[in-house]
Amino acid sequence: MGPLLPNGFIPFEWDSIIAIIIGIAFGFVLESSGFSSSRKLAGVFYGYDFAVLKVFFTAAAVSVIGIYYMDYLGYLDITQLYIHPTYLWGAIIGGVIMGVGFVAGGFCPGTSLCAVAIGKLDAWVYVFGIMIGVFLFSELFPLFEPIYDGYFLGNITLIDSFGWNPYWIIFIFAIIAVVSFVIADIIRKRVKKVFYE
């Protein structure tokens, strides 16, 4: 039966209300987990705080298990969900640029919005930077268009790419996540402590 909105179980008018409610929950959880602090976020890259790794991979594992389980039980039809499209080189080059931006600025867009909300001026500047970045991309669009629109492989999943069984992918992903948490704790004990808020 799910997803509920596209299938008409919830009237279309609720769309924006649901967006705000989901956003509030998202922002609350991010801020409470410490994601409004750039120094906490950057810790993952230097080994003094692994909150990003733990929150991010726990969320990914829980969500993928939950979505496939709801599909298995018949509450949610996975084939109707929006699959983020794969533009091979766009995903790689965009990701590499974002990675440098992450470690330089200490935020990603979602976490910077949380920091904006609690009055961090560095986050206000960061969001202004994102706007400049979007502006530059749009103005120079002809330059970026070949990688933006090219190398399109479709709205594919790992199942399409490798022909693996989804349940095995999820199981192995969950194992990798747990192992990475254990390794993270070992590394953190060996790295010099950094004090921050």
């Binding site: 991010l30 990675g99 470690v103």
Partner: protein, 176 residues
């Protein structure tokens, strides 16, 4: 208990608890709307709206802006803009409950506020640019992509963290 909280306003949730709740939110988002979360999309809509207000002809002639312009509606009327407003409200509520709200520039004691702001601006520019090229940021492409096993989501996630770890050495003075 209350005084303890006030003295330690930087104490956060257990990361596994936060991650678990975030995962539940993603499941609900897909269950209700059929799509995932996002963040950079709202900033993009803001830029498109500003450019459209300042220079409407320019916006219409630009191949990128024009994709998001609608004849009878503002480009701000999108799901992601409302969701981003919610994120700000939710973070404000959480920050209020823990006493973390005040104007300040957060940076390592080893660097100046000015240096922090310069790098924040630079990081924002790069992230904004990269998120357009990859059609989504850590929330929209990596996290929501991985939730439905999107190949592009996994590639973007690996690229973001791979390049951040690879270049962390050059930015170490800002953080450690």
């Amino acid at each position: 208990m209350k005084t303890k909280k006030q003295n330690n306003s930087h104490i956060y949730w257990n990361p596994y608890f936060g991650g678990f709740l975030l995962g539940i939110i993603i499941i609900f988002t897909f269950y209700l709307t059929g799509r995932g979360l996002g963040a950079s999309g709202a900033v993009k809509s803001t830029v498109v709206t500003i450019v459209d207000q300042v220079a409407p002809t320019h916006a219409e002639n630009n191949t990128y802006y024009s994709q998001f312009l609608k004849d009878d509606d503002t480009p701000m009327n999108t799901w992601l803009v409302f969701e981003a407003l919610g994120v700000i409200i939710g973070a404000f509520i959480s920050g209020s409950l823990s006493g973390r709200i005040r104007w300040r520039i957060q940076h390592s004691p080893k660097i100046s506020s000015k240096r922090r702001l310069v790098f924040a601006l630079l990081g924002g520019v790069l992230f904004g640019l990269g998120a357009q090229i990859a059609r989504g940021c850590t929330s929209g492409a990596a996290l929501s992509g991985m939730a439905v096993l999107s190949s592009g989501g996994f590639i973007t996630m690996l690229a973001i963290f791979g390049s951040a770890f690879a270049t962390a050495y050059f930015f170490r003075k800002n953080w450690i």
